[in-house]
Amino acid sequence: MSEAVMIKKLPTFKLPCLLISLMLLTGFSEDQFVPIEALREEIRHLSQRVARLEEENQGLGNMLRDLDDGELYLVVDTESNRLTMRQGNAVLMTAIVGTGSRQFLKEERGRIWYFESPLGSFTVLGRERNPVWIRPDWSYVEENMPIPPRNDPDRFVRDVLGKYAILLGNGYKIHGTKWKNLLGTHFTHGCVSLDDEDLEVVHTSVKNGTRVYIY
């Protein structure tokens, strides 16, 4: 093809080129080819989808709200030795506590104890005023003392657990302590220890059935 012919043919491409440039410059999009009826139909579908999603989300939200009972509960963080009293997302109080020492104790007869606070979800099973500590065998082993019989009066000790004890089951309790300078450390035999003021608040706030989460 000669150059002259090519130059003659060029103008035939000018119009589409000009149109495309114009469309690009004016923000052309493929939407401009969508027939108005199809657009109306698409919007109808999208609106229906929005309504469906809103309904589903409302249902899910209600379901979750129903599970949020608004009950007060306790959380014990055994790593940082903190007790938090919460209600929903609100923190009602935070207290420094003592938790299990994470130490082993071995008896000559072969018994071994590991003093760790129990982890998991618990329920307050009962509350005691002026609790009496019934010394377990490990307490005698720890002090190199002979172990007395089960109901020996020496086992019943007053004034070591503070004014109150909150029972969590399996012998574990939240109670007071004589060793207040050790609060904030791992020093107990598994129970959670608090100072007197915090213990008073916790004792008066919880009831049987209150959940306690220890992690």
Partner: protein, 161 residues
């Protein structure tokens, strides 16, 4: 004259169609934005529902608020604040993540690794993976260790934006 009036009527009609068309396009855009938002909300609601029924602890990480929450079922166990120490949070997308690795570092400089998406660390831990752009969020040492020992590998986290 007749042809001219027909042309003008057509032009007027075309203008009206154009206006409606523009309105419909805008409406479609808004509906798509709303759907996206509702779907994100639903993801979070479904995540919560799943975790309420599960027996594992999990994390909620609110990126704009720079706060996190350790939760068990419907109970909040711990609230924390974090800082971005390296990487980019723009790499994160709202949604669920899985804890893939708990790395025990020297002197308890541990890391919680959520795949290629996120790393949680205490503020003294070295940001070993920062080169890759993975966001590293640092917590106070005490808060981080509480979280570190509270969650197991496979634990879930949900990123909120």
């Amino acid at each position: 004259m007749f042809v001219l009036s027909l042309f003008l009527m057509g032009a007027d009609n075309g203008d009206q169609n154009g206006k409606e068309w523009g309105k419909l396009l805008e409406q479609r855009k808004q509906l798509n934005v709303r759907i996206k938002k509702l779907m994100r909300e639903q993801d979070y609601l479904v995540f919560q529902k799943t975790m309420y029924e599960s027996d594992s602890k999990y994390l909620i990480i609110n990126i704009p608020a720079k706060t996190g929450q350790l939760k068990y079922k419907n109970r909040a166990l711990k609230d924390v604040h974090f800082k971005l120490v390296s990487g980019r949070t723009s790499r994160l997308t709202p949604g669920a993540l899985t804890l893939t690795e708990k790395i025990e570092g020297p002197r308890k400089r541990n890391l919680l690794v959520f795949g290629q998406s996120l790393v949680l660390q205490d503020k003294y831990a070295p940001a070993t993976r920062s080169e890759s752009g993975i966001p590293h969020l640092s917590l106070s040492r005490k808060d981080f260790l509480s979280m570190y020992y509270a969650v197991e590998s496979g634990a879930k986290a949900f990123i909120l934006f």
